[in-house]
């Protein structure tokens, strides 16, 4: 399959369970199946309201078309999700063509989120059972259609490689020949799924379905949209969040060849031109005076102080076991620590962009988004139109990482497009992209533990403060001061901790927008938890792996990955001076993982990560190659954060601007990454984010092993590690 076969689809395909039968004839004699996702219904708490979700169409030519409710942003979903359906449908992946789903929350809601979005590592977790059932349902109907045509028992027929076969008579019919008849068959109430030992696709490395266009320049991302007559715009938004344009002199900008129009908004100015070169030149020629607004004095230090203060008050209790305060008071040894994690930008390689054609009574949008229905809703508000009048074409994403779960870029493009005749593509410069992100929040944790005479932890108390992204993005998910994302990785730990108390205080810093960032809540909590357990092991003067293993009585799967990572990394073997190994362990996104990082710290305090060993139990592996690729990817992403990632605020402004001041890990710095997978028949866990959250403490713990210095604030500060001359 080729990427250019991934068509965009903007028509409304609102088919109810009954409606799909009626629609079969309308589809040129083919079969269209829409399905409910019972898994999603139970989460959404609306039993009986069976909204169809995944779509399978089989044309009379035998072409199988899947409408993809999840988006492809590099994580391999456009391969692994079709594998689930194709496995049960008994077709090979080459017979499958993909379409991006149009915006429709009712039909395409992510079963684990309740909204149409791809994030939180749950495409596979949400789709595992219902999408296989989708394939099995269609297979059952095709078999039934063939059996009726041959007047034989359906049980005597089988499906294989896009055909139904009746072995006794040697007859066979292709799916395309059966599609129209199959559409007339009753939808079976229940279907039998294949046994794991019969899987042909699941568990076998599969070539990605989306790559050929990505090596020859033909793949289309949002930024590549070119509706006829499109103009290119770029923009300057108020450098301080919440500021406004005070005055504008656009004389010089208008004189630039190719500049067509200047659009002044309350808090931004856009230059519309024939091409981005002219737009950027025009932007540089603008003279804008800003009123910096209410957050003109904001600094990172002020945000940190506010969070530190907040942890001294009472927060919402996320989990409580026993009496942590009393147990700490009675403990032989008490350990206290405080941890800081910085704001982070996403820095997707494809900068923020959105193309809009505003036509008074309707609005057409071209974008690459993780949350197409959100884009439609928010763009409609900005356009002053009902959502049905906003047509959204989704594209491949040049990186998502949570940034493209937000619709701010579409809203901004609509605001500009309302002033422009014809379509306009609004492309942010890299500096705008970094300075007007919706950032991974700053978090602060105040944490204590008590150890008994053997150094074993008898109590654990963690009070942390930071924003709740869920409270803004998905308000029903925030209840009683808590949300499941902010606490994932801080509670329900794999370790036996008899007295345990974790509380969260939601603090929304003023003047800086925050959002989801690859590995979300665990990007914070796993760093704190795994750094602190390492501190306890060091305090108890015990080996970091042995110390953890002794606390895993209730977690055999965690114990297995820990032992595997230790074995494969050569844990315990001597290291040269200046080098160290660090271990970290987590159970988040439904997957268990242990990592061992090997680092080298130079005399001037620079850190080089040489090797990372990952041991993973993510339940049933659908596409082993995707698991390996996602772990490599997640480790690099997290290593970038550990070594370089920091967005700072001064005078209300983000101080970083491009890849010179917001650095990324590069080829010459990339570690060797070994991935070892534990075989499991459990349902699949998430894969796209787990590598990121775990590598940060693994690196920090390795630095401790190499230098004896404990880093309680990310990113790594080489000044702290520098050896005196």
């Amino acid at each position: 399959m080729k990427a250019d076969r991934i068509a965009s689809r903007s028509d409304e395909a609102n088919l109810s369970r009954r409606g799909f039968l009626a629609s079969a004839a309308a589809f040129g004699g083919g079969l269209v199946l829409s399905l409910n996702l019972p898994f999603g219904q139970s989460e959404a708490g609306a039993p009986g309201d069976f909204a169809p979700n995944a779509f399978i169409r089989i044309g009379s030519d035998g072409q199988v078309v899947l409408t993809m409710p999840y988006v492809e942003m590099g994580q391999g979903t456009y391969t692994s999700i079709p594998m689930l359906i194709a496995e049960e449908l008994e077709v090979n992946l080459e017979q499958v063509r993909l379409e991006h789903a149009p915006p429709n929350e009712k039909i395409y809601a992510n079963p684990l989120l309740g909204v149409q979005a791809t994030g939180n590592s749950n495409a596979m977790r949400g789709g595992w059972k219902p999408l296989r059932e989708a394939g099995a349902t269609v297979r059952t109907m095709l078999v039934a259609a063939a059996a009726r045509r041959w007047s034989v028992d359906p049980k005597s027929c089988r499906a294989h490689d896009g055909e139904v076969i009746h072995d006794a008579s040697g007859r066979h019919l292709k799916y395309g020949e059966l599609a129209a008849d199959a559409a007339q068959m009753a939808v079976p109430e229940s279907v039998t799924l294949k046994r794991p030992e019969d899987f042909k696709l699941i568990g076998t490395p599969a070539k990605r379905l989306d790559v050929s266009g990505k090596v020859n320049g033909t793949a289309r991302y949002g930024i590549d949209a070119r509706p006829p007559g499109v103009k290119i715009a770029t923009l300057a938004q108020s450098p301080a969040f919440g500021g406004r344009v005070r005055s504008l002199d656009d004389t010089a900008a208008k004189a630039v060849k190719g500049v067509r129009q200047i659009v002044r908004l309350d808090d931004a100015v856009a230059v519309v031109a024939d091409h981005m070169g002219a737009a950027k030149k025009g932007l540089a020629a603008l003279k804008i005076e800003w009123d910096d607004g209410p957050h003109a004095g904001l600094s990172s230090e002020a945000v940190a102080r506010e969070l530190e203060q907040a942890t001294l008050g009472s927060g919402a209790v996320a989990q409580n076991i026993g009496d942590a305060d009393e147990a700490i008071a009675e403990a032989v040894l008490k350990v206290d620590a405080a941890y800081h994690l910085p704001f982070l930008a996403h820095a997707t390689m494809e900068p923020m962009n959105c193309t809009v054609h505003f036509r008074n009574d309707e609005c057409e949008i071209w974008i690459g988004t993780q949350a197409i229905a959100r884009v439609q809703t928010m763009a409609a508000q900005a356009a002053g139109l009902p959502p049905a009048k906003v047509i959204v074409h989704n594209h491949l994403l040049g990186g998502g990482f949570g940034r493209r779960l937000e619709a701010d870029c579409a809203v901004r493009a609509v605001q500009i497009a309302r002033h422009v005749e014809g379509p306009v593509k609004v492309v942010w410069t890299r500096e705008e992209d970094i300075q007007h992100d919706m950032y991974r929040p700053y978090w602060f944790d105040r944490i204590s533990a008590g150890l008994d005479g053997q150094g074993r932890p008898v109590a654990w108390k963690n009070r942390f403060a930071g924003p709740s992204v869920i409270a803004r993005w998905l308000p029903p998910g925030f209840k009683d001061g808590l949300d499941p994302d902010s606490t994932e990785g801080a509670i329900d730990l794999v370790y036996d901790l008899p007295n345990f108390h974790v509380q969260f205080t939601r603090v929304e810093p003023p003047g800086i927008p925050t959002g989801f960032w690859r590995s979300v809540g665990p990007s914070h909590n796993v760093f704190v938890t795994e750094s602190f357990i390492d501190e306890l092991a060091a305090t108890a003067k015990q080996d970091a792996v042995a110390y953890r293993r002794a606390l895993l009585g209730k977690s055999p799967r965690a114990s297995a990955v820990l032992d595997l990572a230790a074995e494969k990394s050569g844990w315990g073997q001597a290291m040269p001076k200046g080098r160290g190994r660090g271990v970290a362990l987590q159970f988040v996104f439904g997957s268990y993982m242990a990592q061992v990082a090997e680092v080298e710290v130079s005399k001037d305090g620079n850190v080089r990560v040489h090797r990372v060993v990952c041991a993973m139990d993510c339940g049933t592996v659908v596409n082993p190659d995707t698991v390996q690729a996602q772990l490599q990817s997640g480790v690099i992403f997290g290593t970038t954060a550990a070594l370089y990632g920091e967005i700072t605020l001064k005078n209300g402004r983000v101080e970083q601007g491009n890849f010179d001041t917001y650095q990324m890990l590069r080829m010459n710095e990339a570690p060797t990454i070994d991935v070892h997978i534990v075989k499991s028949a459990e349902p699949p866990g998430g894969m796209g984010e787990t590598g990121t959250s775990l590598i940060v403490p693994a690196i920090s713990n390795a630095i401790f092993a190499a230098t004896g210095k404990r880093l309680r604030k990310m990113p790594v500060d080489s000044n702290v590690l520098k050896q005196p001359a």
């Binding site: 590099g74 070539k207 020859n216 070169g277 997707t348 890849f659």
Partner: protein, 156 residues
């Protein structure tokens, strides 16, 4: 003023300011969107093209500097021996994730392979460290370049 430049073997006449970066001529004027915008400051390599076979950041290459040089982009790199081998190795090793930076990665890697039949790890670091991949495909890029080099020496 108008400039006439050679891209992928075809002559194109373009009427833009002389300081306009080649990147925007390719993407916005000519509609060749395979070459990508990442930073606008030669910091990420997403916009890499070949100018007379040399890997060059098109985002800082002004149109008036090209003159008679031959520009090759991702759309045509498969027609070169090194480019075809690199593309094949990329598919074989499943290098690509989101894919956005890969046009630039492939252009840098093709230029390396065309000038160095058997690159060492250091050669690969030197040639490829200007290209950022946010999906972290570096491990596979390195393997794929080595695979392409092997097919090179085998004459395949």
């Amino acid at each position: 003023m108008a400039f006439t430049i050679s891209i992928n073997g075809s002559r194109h006449s373009i009427d833009v300011d002389g300081d306009t970066p080649l990147l925007w001529v390719l993407r916005d004027v000519l509609g060749m969107t395979g070459t990508k915008f990442g930073c606008g400051a030669a910091l990420c390599g997403a916009c890499t093209v070949h100018i007379d076979g040399v890997a060059t950041r098109s985002c800082i290459t002004s149109i008036d500097s090209i003159e008679k040089s031959a520009v090759t982009t991702i759309e045509a790199i498969g027609a070169t021996a090194a480019g075809a081998r690199i593309q094949k190795a990329w598919l074989e090793h499943e290098v690509v994730q989101c894919g956005y930076c890969q046009s630039g990665q492939i252009m840098s890697a093709s230029a390396l392979l065309a000038s160095n039949q058997n690159p060492t790890d250091t050669d690969i670091d030197d040639a490829m460290s200007g290209n950022i991949c946010r999906c972290g495909t570096y491990v596979r890029i390195r393997e794929a370049i080595k695979l392409a080099a092997q097919t090179n020496t085998k004459g395949g």
